[in-house]
């Protein structure tokens, strides 16, 4: 046989589902040398996140975060988005799958449609808008939402008058691009790919099943997702909080939790993990929109288990006056006169109360898609009994079929950051699987050399776009063209129906060449979506891409000033003037490159660091693991079983063996980092064992420690132990008295000042150990004293199991904590029982304390060394709570495991794979491009006052060897805070230089009539 056959593995990946998890995986893979096919069954990518108004716990606007990512996916040269598409079959093996994809007819030519929306205005038929959860209406030819990607319209064939009744064709007449295609047919394509990633997302529980709650019957009962659309500025009420029946502003609004969750009767037994937090968010945002609203949340248990979640709930209570009422609602009735709703519940004292509300929001849970069983069959994977993809806590993103990975809510209910983490984790897994095929299927654009225009006088070309009728109906294009011709340095002006259409792009290129233009302005739409497209166009014409400017006369003019033709035209002229003023001062910018050392240093040799190291080593990179202790394993050494029953010690042993055997991994035990310098791609680190390493990325996996309790007679009695001690005793086979009584106390050292956070693992530990005790000795008793049992997601099954086999749960309040005293060899525990409204006195043989987690003591020093921030509780703070959960703001440094926040073993493994995926993206590049839009530092003007040094969020200014301020452009993100603060104006941001902004201000303030303010 030939000994030099090329790898049979494919360098491409199919991703099924374009929500935030699928998009993250797609971008990570495509940015690191893999071709991606993104299959989306809707006409646009975006998934569930695009429907949300804001996100917890930061209150960030959901669309503002996801929209740039969607644009990036849509424009990526190595991502093919197949929308309205579904996978029909998958054959083959890991590295070489054949995937058949069915493409539903769109009835619009994607290559001709510019997304202008003229057709939508003319379409005569309106149907309920599924994106707005049926509250608003949409047309039959439509885009799913305003920021849809692709923005190509689609015809909903079920409702189209022409396609169903053979009459209408108004959209065809309205479309000036000739993009309507009524003859479109379903097609099937075949894709050959090395790996498959499943990210199909979720469905929501159909709350009409629970008729007693009144959804679909009483108008003012809405689902939480409907309320999300009501809050949204782009939703049916434009962000005003109104109730559907009479569009009045509700005052008293009730949220009912666990609708469709934690209930095995006509609903789902699992906890949906997100509802407690999204309800809290909705109350806060509703109060911010309308301060008269009085929100009440009816809940069973407040599961604020994530990073900084408890603080968010405390804020809702204390700053926003949100009322949290622990009660289950048995029925909702409408008061016929008012449309108000009567809720009946039992208060904590057991008294029945009827309370009237203006509006009710049902916090509906998450569930797999309706066709989940068929979906699993198509891909040949197994599911769990609830039809989520089957995975193991120790391999949390692998399905039962090799080469097929899963991310997001199809793996189990979870929130956005956990989904994004899994997105990067599956990307890392696919990179490791297909490492030898990296770069075999991606394309790189060959660019012509740039024309040198440095010393030429500006010759500006201005193209004024009609955008069909979108601009031309409101703005007099001829007048704008005529006015532009009068402006200085403008050499060429023309109008165009659609500047972004393919034929017009070719026209622009030709005009640039024919007229020897050296600056281009397109007066059309927003730079946020269209600037990269036009920059590419002028680059193809041989011009530096930074010699382009977009004058937005659509979003900022024609669309906002409809029916004001004269004013809008005047404003459009002004916008073009401002753009010309800026463009005249534009300079070609060079894009620099820095080399990348393809190696990674990982600080911490626990399960997090080891998992990352194996993934990166399998991807083909050298890895250095630096562990301060003498052996690997970290806190995992004290874990014996997972809640689901996996043997952790065996897994740990196997992992350590794999790490030790891997030829790309170097382990440095008993070692600490002495000094690191450098930046992304080029770090140099000196270790305490006198090794000097060069590496391109850093993963901080320094872990955490367990709180050693001082309360509840800890240390005073050998009968008072921690959950971890108990787990060890159970694992070592210790025989307890078969009739022993165990009392467990939860939240020891958690959820209280000064540690106002949930340690996330203790509830499952208590449940796990309680089940083990009861299974060993059914005659023994376990009583768990808790504040809220937070067995989120599918962990809820074990909470139920514990209750079923007789584990007793007694709630306590933080103001009335249990009291413990010694009683000879035994212990007495006193606690208040809210069900009986009496104090309980329990004789206990064992008292087991659920001790919380703490950041590792080295966290502070590591934070200082790398200038990365930590949150109030001392855990490292990621770059963005929602969308960058393993990144630091400083490029090239990543975080995973307990160093980031308390989490369970499966979550640590996921996050470590994600960190490896993210680091892999950087390390896979031979060199990294530095953006052109960065701050430039003029040393001769600088007085080294250190103003910039203090304010820069990215640490790009530094003190050079000469003791003066210098600037590392690789780290610079171009925000320009340095430029604003610099008293000497030594910093200027390319393309946003002061002279350019001032020229725009001057152009904006010039008045045609000669009257100030005219």
């Amino acid at each position: 046989m030939n000994d030099k056959i090329s790898s049979p593995k494919k360098g491409s990946v199919v991703i099924v589902g374009g929500g935030i998890g699928g998009m993250q995986a797609a971008l990570d893979l495509a940015d690191s040398g893999f071709k991606v096919h993104l299959i989306q069954k809707d006409p646009s990518i975006g998934g569930t996140m695009v429907m949300l108004d804001k996100t917890f716990p930061t209150g960030d606007c959901s669309m503002c975060m996801i929209s740039p990512k969607m644009v990036e996916v849509g424009r990526h040269i190595n991502i093919d988005v197949h929308s309205l598409a579904e996978v029909a079959s998958v054959e083959g093996q890991p590295g070489d799958f054949k995937i058949k994809v069915k493409l539903a007819p769109r009835y619009v030519y994607p290559e001709k449609c510019t997304g202008c929306g003229d057709c939508e205005i003319k379409c005569p038929k309106k149907i309920p808008n599924e994106f707005d959860q049926g509250i608003g209406k949409r047309k039959v030819i439509y885009s799913l939402f305003a920021q849809a990607v692709p923005n190509t319209r689609a015809i909903d064939a079920r409702h189209c008058l022409y396609l169903t009744k053979g009459t209408c064709r108004l959209c065809e007449k309205a479309c000036k691009a000739g993009a309507i295609n009524y003859e479109d047919k379903e097609r099937v394509i075949e894709i050959n790919a090395g790996a498959v990633i499943l990210s199909p997302g979720l469905d929501r529980y159909d709350a009409t099943v629970r008729g007693e709650l009144g959804l679909g019957r009483w108008k003012n009962v809405v689902t939480s997702l409907q309320f999300e659309r009501i809050l949204s500025a782009s939703g049916p009420f434009k962000g005003e909080v109104k109730r559907p029946s009479d569009e009045k502003h509700p005052r008293k609004v009730a949220w009912i939790q666990c609708v469709g969750s934690r209930d095995s009767h006509n609903a789902n037994p699992w906890c949906s993990s997100v509802c407690c937090m999204y309800a809290t968010k909705q109350t806060i945002i509703a109060k911010e929109h309308d301060k008269n609203i009085e929100p009440t949340i009816f809940y069973m248990e407040m599961r604020a288990f994530g990073k900084d979640f408890d603080k968010y709930v405390e804020r809702a209570k204390n700053e926003y006056g949100v009322r949290y009422q622990r009660a289950m609602i048995s029925a909702v009735r409408e008061e016929p006169e008012t449309g108000n709703l009567m809720l009946r519940y039992a208060d904590e004292a057991g008294k029945l109360i009827d309370e009237s509300f203006d509006m009710v929001v049902l916090s509906i849970g998450l569930e797999p898609h309706k066709d989940a069983a068929k979906f699993a069959k198509t891909f040949g994977i197994e599911t769990n009994p609830y039809l989520f993809a089957k995975t193991s806590p120790l391999c949390p993103v692998q399905t039962t079929r090799d080469g097929i990975f899963v991310t997001g809510t199809y793996q189990g209910p979870k929130d956005i950051p956990d989904t994004v983490m899994q997105g990067s984790a599956v990307a890392g897994e696919a990179m490791a699987l297909l490492s030898e095929a990296r770069g075999t299927e991606t394309v790189h654009k060959e660019l012509l050399p740039e024309r040198d225009v440095e010393n030429e006088k500006p010759r500006i070309g201005v193209f004024v776009c009609h955008c069909g009728t979108n601009i031309a109906a409101t703005v007099n294009i001829d007048e704008v063209v005529a006015a532009a011709k009068q402006l200085p340095d403008v050499a060429y002006v023309t109008n165009t129906i659609y500047a972004c259409a393919q034929d017009n792009q070719d026209m622009i290129k030709q005009v640039v060449k024919d007229n020897n233009l050296n600056r281009v302005i397109i007066a059309s739409c927003t730079p946020r979506t269209h600037e990269p497209l036009f920059q590419e166009t002028i680059r193809d014409a041989g011009l530096n891409k930074y010699l382009f400017d977009l004058a937005d006369i659509r979003e900022q003019c024609s669309w906002c000033h409809m029916g004001q033709k004269e004013e809008a035209t005047k404003k459009a002229v002004k916008i073009v003037k401002m753009s010309v003023a800026k463009s005249r001062l534009q300079k070609p910018l060079k894009t620099d490159y820095v080399g990348v050392t393809p190696a990674c240093m990982i600080i911490g040799g626990g399960i997090a660091g080891m998992t990352s190291s194996l993934s990166l080593a399998d991807q083909g990179f050298d890895v250095h693991v630096v562990e301060m202790e003498k052996e690997l394993g970290g806190l995992t050494r004290n874990l014996f079983r997972t809640l689901e029953g996996n043997d952790v010690q065996e897994f740990l042993k196997a992992t350590i063996a794999k790490v030790q055997a891997h030829k790309r991994i170097t382990i440095h035990t008993n070692t600490q980092v002495k000094k690191t310098e450098g930046f992304v791609g080029n770090f140099k680190t000196a270790l305490s064992n006198d090794t000097l390493i060069s590496h391109g990325a850093i993963i901080i996996a320094t872990g955490g420690t367990e709180y050693a309790p001082a309360e509840y007679l800890s240390g005073e009695s050998d009968k008072v132990i921690t959950q971890r001690d108990l787990e060890k005793r159970i694992a070592s086979g210790e025989k307890f008295n078969p009739r022993a009584r165990f009392v467990m106390i939860q939240c020891v050292g958690s959820r209280e000042e000064p540690n106002q956070y949930c340690s996330r693992v203790c509830c499952q530990d208590a449940v796990k150990n309680a089940i083990a005790i009861k299974e060993q000795n059914p005659g023994s008793q376990v009583i768990i004293l808790y504040r809220d049992i937070r067995t989120y997601g599918l962990r809820e099954d074990y909470y139920k199991k514990a209750r079923d086999i007789g584990v007793m749960f007694v709630r306590y309040d933080v103001d009335k904590k249990p009291q413990v005293e010694k009683d000879g060899d035994k212990l007495k525990v006193r606690t208040w029982d809210y069900m009986l409204n009496k104090e309980l006195m329990i004789d206990a043989d064992w008292l087991v304390l659920s001790a919380g987690l703490r950041p590792h003591p080295t966290t502070e020093g590591t934070g200082k060394m790398y200038k990365v921030t930590r949150n109030q509780d001392g855990y490292f703070l990621e770059a963005h709570v929602k969308l960058r959960p393993v990144d630091f703001p400083t490029e090239g440094i990543f975080v995973c495991g307990l160093a980031h926040a308390p989490k369970n073993l499966d979550e640590t493994i996921t996050q470590s794979l994600a960190a490896a995926g993210r680091a892999g993206v950087i390390l896979s590049h031979e060199r990294l491009a530095v953006s052109g839009i960065i701050a430039k530092h003029k040393k001769e003007l600088c007085m080294s006052c250190l103003g910039c040094f203090r304010v820069c969020p990215f640490d790009s200014p530094y003190i050079g060897e000469d003791g003066k301020v210098a600037h590392n452009e690789v780290k610079c993100m171009g925000c320009g805070i340095c430029a604003a603060i610099c008293p000497a104006k030594a910093f200027q941001v390319n393309n946003f230089r002061d002279d350019q902004i001032l020229a725009m201000i001057d152009a904006a303030s010039e008045c045609e009539s000669g009257v100030v303010g005219g």
Binding site: T526, E555, Q556, C560, G976, I997, S1005, C1007, V1012
Partner: protein, 88 residues
Amino acid sequence: MNKAVESTEEAKAPSIEKPHETPEGWEPNILAFACHYCAFAAADLAGVMRLSYSPNVKIIRLPCTGKLDQIYVLRAFEKGIDGVFVAG
């Protein structure tokens, strides 16, 4: 003497305290400085949703509102802009 003092005070006071009369139908010229990532995106959304606002508002995009230099604000007022709106 006293009267003279009073009258100078009277003459001085209005030039500081009393704003200029605005003619009927006068509309202020407003310049907005918007962060590319949030407020500028909001302006896009306002357009997509066809929300109407006065055409006398013009927008200058900044990479971050932290880039706003006091010089920009002063220059705008110096050149006769009536109001500056910073959003980010």
